[in-house]
Amino acid sequence: MSFDLLLTNFLNPPILFFFLGMAAVLAKSDLDIPQPLPKAFALYLLFAIGFKGGVELAHGGLQPGVLKALGAAISLACVVPVYAFFILRRRLDVKNAAAIAATYGSVSAVTFIAATSFLGQLGVVSGGYMVAAMALMESPAIIVGVALCRLYSAAETGGVAHPSLSWSHLLREAFFNGSVFVLVGSLIIGAITGARGAQALLPFTDGIFKGVLCLFLLDMGLVSARRLAGLRKLGAFPLAFATLIPLGNAALALLVAKSLGLPRGDAFLLCTLSASASYIAVPAAMRAAIPEANPGLYVTMALALTFPFNVILGFPLYYSLIQRLWS
């Protein structure tokens, strides 16, 4: 990993604000960004990224290359939770293994947005369809995780099953989760609107984007640093998993991207998507579908470990690999 890439990443204001948030918690500052402000920032970011992605998608069209990439994205989102589950089963019970597997099979929209900002620093372009790829990767892992859970927990317990969630309810949780809904909806609206109509929204969707991202990452820094104290209780296995599985998932995504001949920017985004872990769409679904799984485990791992890992070290690492493999 080149030192230059590390530095480029560190000097990106959003990342610096993430550090500032972490520093505030470590310094025991009373800095706090009360709800629903972080929810407003997230709503804005999903809206803007979705809308812009839709506009670009409409512009570029659904070429065969795009469809291949989207197919690869969905496949990754279905395969990752399966092998993650079996790795996790070596130490954890079925419910927690399934919930964590779903978490790592799905993706983190904020990691994706931060990754586009990293590419922006480097001046590397990426395709608008990658937003669609992200949207498509949100939900499948939820279904896979719950299916694995049901399959294997029937075996494990004789099962005093409490009334379990119906599949129709589950599909709704997976596909109509609020943030997925805003992202996909904005994507579709952007695609309908097209470039001409998008012009009037540019100062909103583009102009203030990076600033809002800074404030959002400031809050992410606060939230994830608050969870750091809880990490010690998790034990060594989850810690190791949360920092190693992203590497595996990233590597897999790189191979896929290379074999499809994706351009650098898109390969990088696919790679960070695969390496990222969901802490928005999945936790909400898991609370409903696998209530016995411990969110103190799967949310904390995604939020306090995997997110900072990807954003701080992952980005320069993945991109330096791409520089080698793609040249």
Binding site: S179, L222, I280, P283, A284, P291, P295, G296, V299
Partner: protein, 97 residues
């Protein structure tokens, strides 16, 4: 004034929709909900600072006749077991319109 029982329920915010449905199915005619409640309990700290309200509680107060209150408390037990939280019964007197 009527003799009633205050039923207070504190549990996972994401569970509240289900709790309300349960109450209505048991015939509770009115209740009030405070959505944003932080807490500390067996399941650790609930700071309510997450985007998804996974670490957030809500509070519900239902005033009803004593016998119904007992049934509500009993019916809540499995939810509290699964999701954590607490249910309290307190006798009180009420004025309604």
């Amino acid at each position: 004034m009527e003799n009633v029982t205050r039923v207070e329920i504190i549990t996972d915010a994401l569970e509240m929709r289900e709790v309300c449905a349960l109450l209505e199915s048991l015939g509770v005619s009115g209740y009030s909900v405070i959505r944003d409640v932080q807490g500390q309990g067996e399941r650790g700290r609930q700071l309510g600072d997450e985007l998804t309200d996974v670490f957030k509680n809500s509070f519900l107060l239902a005033v009803c006749e004593p016998a119904l209150a007992e049934r509500v408390a009993e019916a809540l037990r499995p939810i509290l077991q699964r999701r954590g939280g607490i249910c309290l019964l307190t006798p009180a007197r009420s004025v309604r319109h």
